[in-house]
Assembly symmetry: C2
Amino acid sequence: MNDVVKLLNNHRSLRKFTDEKLSDEMIRTLVGAAQSASTSSYVQAYSIMGVTDPEKKKALREISTQSYVEHNGHLFVFIVDFYRHKELAEQAGEEISYDKTENLIVGVVDASLAAQNMAVAAESMGLGICYIGSLRNDIKKAGEILGLPEGTFALFGMVAGFPEDEGSQKERLPFEAVYHENTYRRIDEVQSDIDAYDQRISDYYSERTDGKRADKWSEQIIGMLGKKQRLDVDAVLKEQGYLGQ
Amino acid sequence: MNDVVKLLNNHRSLRKFTDEKLSDEMIRTLVGAAQSASTSSYVQAYSIMGVTDPEKKKALREISTQSYVEHNGHLFVFIVDFYRHKELAEQAGEEISYDKTENLIVGVVDASLAAQNMAVAAESMGLGICYIGSLRNDIKKAGEILGLPEGTFALFGMVAGFPEDEGSQKERLPFEAVYHENTYRRIDEVQSDIDAYDQRISDYYSERTDGKRADKWSEQIIGMLGKKQRLDVDAVLKEQGYLGQ
């Protein structure tokens, strides 16, 4: 296993950072690494926002509820972005559209590939990162805070910084439950793998909490997916010109 | 700049591979690296399919039209997947839903972060990769070929293999056009950067084709986004239980 694979396998989300800020050079390096990721048909359908204004960080923290949105080395926000394509088309007297489900997928994939490259680059530089999906708790307000024009929306944030703790890793689903060959294997073929995994996750929580908490992975995700949340995302995306189909 | 950042910055899509196949150990390493990426609220809403059956590879190539879908070291398909969550909830007598736009975003982001980790791992191992978004040329048929159940769809493929050429890199949008600080900068603030970039891309094509082709970046993306394509993605996702909102 080479050093890069070790780095990837060692990933953990970090949520506590020192006060030290990322340098401009670091920020440029991270954005450059992000941009080096593949992009669908060269469309580059994303922007990256750096947020340093204390008022804006505070406002975004209120949306997210996570303290590390305010306290970090740098706060990035990844933005799905067809605004500049639309403007360039108008200048050229041409008409384009990005209102199909396909376009939304392209934008979300493009921004995500870029973000994960940034995450890997940051960790290779000794920084820690955490994705901030909770900006979508109020995606409309997040867009207002960042002055986002039509054709854009805040997909997620990413905090980066100098680690103040080591974080911890949570075991992923077993290979057998996630990897299929040639044909999708239904639940009955992977049930025993998932059950054993569920038990390991339950044991993990139990050990860490002196038995106060012992939920399985499946219990966690059922609880989460049972809640209907972020129901406004659909309407906000449509306001921004997406999902008109 | 450290070696990992150099690796990321050196990315190029490769489309020509030798006949050598990836070993089982390599496949396990790649899937493990993919799974190490962050996942929204631990939901792990994706599966990874390896396609080795020659008939299936041929059928997927027909959808994609790209020869390297058939000729490569290994063909992966990344699948957005809430099927197992739904099955586990039913077993527990609970009801969950994944039909909100928010759920689609979570699944697409989860699968994309995993895929980009795989891409980085592959390149660190001396392999080349190329994303295959063109599986969405017929997303319904791709799902049928792979035996995908309700709650899943093929997001994109990724070919990996031992390189037979070096590929080439296409310059990305300038930092100034992609990175914003605190407030989104509208088109007039980045116009000169985009214009200069457009000219560089035009020169790049012109040099490589003896002047036969000299399109700017903006011309390319306007041409592409002017075509209405993959209009069936929306209906297929809805059939699979997504975007019911």
